[in-house]
């Protein structure tokens, strides 16, 4: 139960002991092999986005375009600019909903996870059990009742109707509770000794010590909300999200394969950006804060 704070350089990874060079090479080879399997379809999607339509009908199909072109993106831009609403507005809607949902969720989820992990109060076990159970219920059939509730609250055709249900996600809370449970009680106790209230402990002791999980939650939440189509709840074109607009443009079929790939690539950029930002943080934070049971 000792509280250790080891000072280590920020970029140092946990010190690797007992590493054989042969083993490292084997693992690296394996990583390259699996990496190729993982990356190939993505590379193909990116290269398809730059293929002119006629190259989809060549035999053998070229993996990389013979005459790379930005035509698919221009075409996508043209279709969207002919819509009622500009591309920027769709992007704005999506970013507004995703960013505000993610920030709000990080606050309310960590706030809820702290008592669920560290306090004792009547109903705690029941709540934890309910959250775990909710993880296993398929959203496919809750969509209709949820819609009825949104209609009752007057949130249909309102961006809040997309945003608020995303705050009810249990995955982040569950993950957070699991992680908070391993925080040593001694640290929290010392906070209490110093006269800090529970909210203060949450803000200055708990949250700073769960950073890797915070960033992981940030990725999950941003990505889930970003990929929310929301077309069933919002009819007003001015508030539709980017995925909803893209799915109107990029329907399946090989003739539109290029445009479809272009749309998919554009949609992947923001979550990947969030991912890169948070991952480089995850990988740095924990290496130098050794606070453990």
């Amino acid at each position: 139960m000792a509280l250790k704070r080891k000072k280590q350089p920020v970029f140092a990874s946990p010190k690797k002991q007992q590493r054989s060079i042969g083993g490292t090479i084997m693992l690296a080879l394996l990583l390259i092999l699996m990496g190729t399997f993982m990356a190939f379809p993505l590379v193909y999607a990116i290269s398809s986005a730059f293929k002119p339509p006629e190259e989809f009908f060549l035999f053998p199909p070229p993996i990389f375009p013979n005459n790379p072109t930005g035509e698919n993106f221009t075409q996508l831009g043209m279709v969207i600019s002919n819509m009622w609403i500009s591309f920027e507005r769709y992007l704005f809607n999506s970013l507004l909903i995703s960013v505000s949902s993610t920030l709000l969720y990080l606050v309310i989820a960590t706030l809820a996870a702290y008592p669920l992990a560290k306090h004792t109060f009547p109903g705690k076990n029941g709540m934890n059990e309910m959250i775990t159970l909710a993880l296993m219920f398929t959203p496919a059939i809750t969509a209709i009742p949820q819609y009825i509730i949104l209609a009752y609250l007057g949130l249909v055709n309102n961006p809040l109707g997309v945003l608020l249900p995303t705050l009810a996600s249990t995955m982040g809370v569950f993950l957070c509770v699991q992680y908070m449970e391993i925080l040593p009680n001694a640290v929290l106790e010392s906070g209490r000794m110093d006269g800090a209230g529970e909210f203060r402990i949450w803000r200055s002791i708990v949250v700073p010590n769960i950073k890797p999980v915070l960033f992981t939650m940030m990725i999950f939440q941003f990505q889930a909300v970003w990929n929310t189509n929301g077309a069933g709840i919002i009819y007003n074109e001015a508030w539709k999200t980017l995925p909803a607009a893209m799915s109107q443009v990029a329907t399946a079929g090989i003739a539109r394969a290029g445009v479809g790939s272009a749309a998919a690539i554009i949609l992947m950029i923001p979550p990947i950006a969030v991912f890169i930002i948070s991952q480089s943080n995850v990988m740095e934070t924990m290496a130098h804060s050794g606070i453990k049971d």
């Binding site: 080891k6 946990p14 007992q18 590493r19 490292t24 693992l27 399997f37 993982m38 990356a39 379809p41 193909y44 398809s48 060549l58 053998p60 199909p61 993996i63 309310i108 989820a109 706030l111 809820a112 702290y114 008592p115 109060f121 009547p122 705690k124 709540m127 309910m130 159970l133 993880l135 296993m136 219920f137 496919a140 059939i141 009742p145 949820q146 509730i149 608020l164 705050l167 009810a168 249990t170 699991q178 992680y179 449970e181 529970e198 999980v213 992981t216 999950f220 995925p243 090989i254 394969a257 479809g260 998919a264 949609l267 990947i272 991912f275 991952q279 995850v282 990988m283 924990m286 290496a287």
Partner: protein, 299 residues
């Protein structure tokens, strides 16, 4: 005695006011947008509801019908195949790859995490597999096999019942490095470095011993989270089989999962009562499997 108990319960609730205050914002959202809809869906599973007329209570008729439904049994079988193949494989794959990545130097680590995680980032980038396994000779797989002379004419990979479930499995594995993978990455980062140093002094000889004796015991919370998510996700998979191979429209229902069957009844036939009933059975299946698996693993 009872009164005294209640009294102390009230007092205990009052004393823990701050805990409830912290829980309130999330719990309100959770109850309104998750608990109520789930309860409503469970309630609807005992009704006949076509989404136009008010639901009429029919008792357990839906459940009786479900267990005599041959097509549901096909969906059940496919879901079991996918869950029992993809579930454990994905879990081990996620854990193993997270560990291998963690063994690499830092710069490579971030890059490799992106490469492995990227497929799960986007909601629908797996559509690219339809072009790879396209049934004409313009698909990469067909054209490569044709050129090598292994096949004489293009194979209808996504339609032919002898191949399409396998392809769904491959694509599911491709998409599997998602939630559990990232939580493992975070878990590996969370292991205190000083424990490795102590382990080395205590005679840990190689990286596998280090993994077994130090890393895994320290990652229990993440592994538990990953397992729960993996079980829930494996049983409720369906997007890939629907979009790639037709799901409930596939030949002889060859790739239809329980989730696809729910979509069929919920969004196409508007038999919401029956759809909810299938959903409740799926939920029970997931909860039971989780209980069983956790019991077997003695968690």
């Amino acid at each position: 005695m009872k009164i005294k108990n209640e009294h102390s319960l009230v007092r205990r609730i009052a004393k823990n006011g701050v805990s409830y205050a912290m829980l309130a914002p999330f719990m309100i959202c959770f109850i309104i947008f998750t608990v109520l809809p789930v309860l409503a869906a469970i309630g609807l599973s005992f009704t006949d509801f076509n989404m136009l007329e008010t639901p009429s209570f029919i008792g357990i008729d839906n459940f009786v019908r479900l267990f005599q439904d041959d097509i549901f049994l096909i969906g059940f079988k496919n879901t079991m195949i996918l869950a029992f193949l993809c579930g454990p494989l994905s879990y081990l794959f996620s854990f193993f790859m997270a560990w291998v990545i963690n063994e690499m130097p830092k710069g490579l680590r971030v890059f490799m995490t992106i490469v492995f995680y990227a497929p799960s980032v986007s909601a629908n980038v797996y559509f690219i597999w339809t072009y790879l396994f396209s049934g004409d000779s313009y698909g990469i797989v067909n054209s490569t096999l044709l050129q090598l002379g292994i096949i004489r004419e293009p194979v209808l990979w996504l339609t032919d019942p002898s191949f399409n479930l396998t392809i769904v499995i491959v694509v599911q594995l491709w998409l599997s490095l998602g939630v559990s993978f990232l939580s493992f990455i975070a878990g590996f980062q969370g292991v205190d470095a000083s424990q490795y140093e102590a382990g080395a002094i205590d005679g840990i000889k190689n990286r596998f011993q280090e993994l077994w004796y130090i890393t895994i015991p320290n990652m229990k919370s993440m592994m538990l989270f990953g397992a729960v998510m993996q079980i829930a996700n494996s049983f409720s998979c369906g997007a890939v089989s629907q979009d790639l191979t037709g799901g409930y429209q596939s030949v002889n229902y060859s790739t239809m999962t329980i989730l696809n069957y729910i979509t069929d009844y919920g969004s196409v036939r508007y038999e919401m009562g029956y759809a909810c009933c299938i959903g409740v059975v799926l939920f029970a299946l997931i909860v039971l499997s989780k209980k069983l698996i956790f019991k077997l693993l003695k968690w």
